[in-house]
Symmetry: C2
Subunit: 321 residues, 2 copies
């Protein structure tokens, strides 16, 4: 079974890296973007960039390509309307950092698409085609949705693409994913942004003394504000929960420092948390998508932080026996 | 004028790196530590480690060496008592991360020492002799105290040592330093520790999805908890001020996200703050310590985030004309 062609819509850091990476896997790969600058640079670099999103979707329909929506959350609806107009039954995935809102939008705006959402956990501090890198996904976690109603054939398409570009696949539901990234991506961005502002308020002496802890802690505050804002606002409910968690912990630390002069409990809890990250060894699975109850198996694997590191070489679900 | 010998008390990451670095400058360098493990490894690596702190101080008195206190804040008093007993009039500096408490302790416990406190802004996530590195201070900021009563000859000794091991010198008063490091070192540690705990609370899915923003944002949470605790608790007043600043900003972000769904103001402020760090170009000075009003000049330079990048080749202040 040949892997389907890949149609990447949006050629910023992630989309641009994916177009490059997909081509190295031997897949036919093409794309489109509304950014004239990105399109021009991608073409100059020798990639197959169609003049419009509609033109790319028409070709995707013709080839039964896997369409990858790689635009920021606020631009997703417009792309999905084009999908529904031009390639309503296409294989569809996306790489947006929040999954429940995209799933809702697909159900609303492109209900006939064969959809399995995804999210590669890859860098964000710079943006645009020019900073893309075909190796961006190597050793990255690539979440692929295991929500009710997911198309298992498209799930396999996305998982195989992720594996072929060097990532490992983390199966998770949209809600579980969004709760997790609120903790490990959106909260870090908000803390980095807060730290950067407090640090800069200290004036030139603070800036000249700033070393590793401040540089590391504020790195992602250098990301494009529109992208960070869209990402955080798109995950409002989950983010509020973890923000309250963080505020509670910081407030407790403040209270303890002010009253008893001690901050050891906070520091030790953080040290343990970082240790948990360093020591975590995820369970791994070669997934057989034709196995009975595979969706439940994948969901359970994801809850345990597990990774799919390969697909068993059987026919994809729904294919002829 | 030959640079004085260097006597390093405490051979952990910073002291151990400094002993290595001082030796490469051609200075006579020796040390002592209460840690049997660090002493043994340092000796095995060929360094001159005396059996006790008292023995090292006796030699320092004999050679008029520069004594560098490189122990964590809670151990400073004990070392200063030894200084006052064995080498009461020695040239004295320290590398402790909080300066006002050390200055107070010196006034109290070693009042006859010729003292100029210091603080190299160099890494902390690992600790002990074994992880030390003679190049740790290259391109690092090394704060040297310009408080009233500082010994200008010792100031020059410390500054020359810092410059010779590749650092640049930032002159600041103890209070200004402590206010600044609360923002750019102690707050980052507390935020990292909070983030690590909140992230780990998310369980295995969070850990397996954790990528750059979480890893960077929690790196210093891996530091030895006793060191971080001592550092933060030793700077309680300044840290409470910036912690309140951070809590206020995070609380405002939370309120805005909950009520209007918007978080753009926070994200843009952080982006600007990080930009200020990246764009900051510190004024630089070759300092002539014999110039009239030099202390005031240095203080003003520090307030503007400036660096001393060399010492003018005149006699040090207080020397014979």
């Amino acid at each position: 079974m040949t892997a389907p062609a890949v149609c990447v819509l949006g050629l910023g850091l992630i989309g641009g890296s994916l177009l490059r990476a997909a081509e190295t896997t031997g897949r036919r790969a093409f794309g489109a973007t509304k950014s004239g600058a990105d399109a021009e640079q991608a073409r100059a670099d020798g990639f197959d960039v169609l003049p419009t999103v509609d033109a790319a979707l028409a070709r995707a329909a013709e080839l039964d390509a896997l369409v990858v929506v790689s635009v920021p959350l606020p631009a997703v609806d417009e792309v999905l309307r084009a999908v529904n107009r031009v390639a309503p039954r296409c294989r569809l995935t996306d790489v947006v950092g929040v999954k429940a809102p995209v799933l809702d939008a697909v159900v609303r705006l492109a209900p006939n698409a064969r959809y399995a959402g995804g999210h590669p956990m890859a860098g964000l501090a710079a943006s645009g085609w020019a900073v893309g890198d075909g190796r961006l996904f190597e050793k990255a976690a690539w979440m692929v949705s295991v929500d009710e109603g997911v198309d298992l054939q498209v799930w396999a398409d996305v998982a195989r693409l992720a594996l072929d570009v060097g990532a490992f696949v983390v199966p998770a539901t949209a809600d579980d994913h969004d709760a997790a990234v609120a903790r490990i991506s959106h909260l870090p961005h908000l803390l980095a942004t807060t730290l950067a502002a407090v640090g800069a308020d200290g004036g030139p002496l603070s800036l000249t003394l700033a070393a590793g802890s401040f540089r590391d802690g504020t790195r992602v505050a250098g990301s494009r504000p529109e992208l960070v804002t869209a990402m955080c606002e798109g995950n409002k409910v989950a983010l509020l929960t973890v923000l309250d968690d963080a505020l509670g912990r910081l407030g407790a630390a403040r209270g303890s420092l002010a009253s008893t002069g001690s901050i050891g409990v906070t520091v030790r809890a953080g040290h343990q948390g970082r240790g948990a990250l360093d020591e975590f060894e995820p369970p791994e699975l070669i997934a057989d998508l034709a196995a009975p109850g595979i969706l439940a198996t994948l969901r359970e694997l994801g809850r345990r932080g597990g990774r799919v590191t390969g697909l068993a070489d059987t026919r994809s679900a729904g294919g002829p026996a």
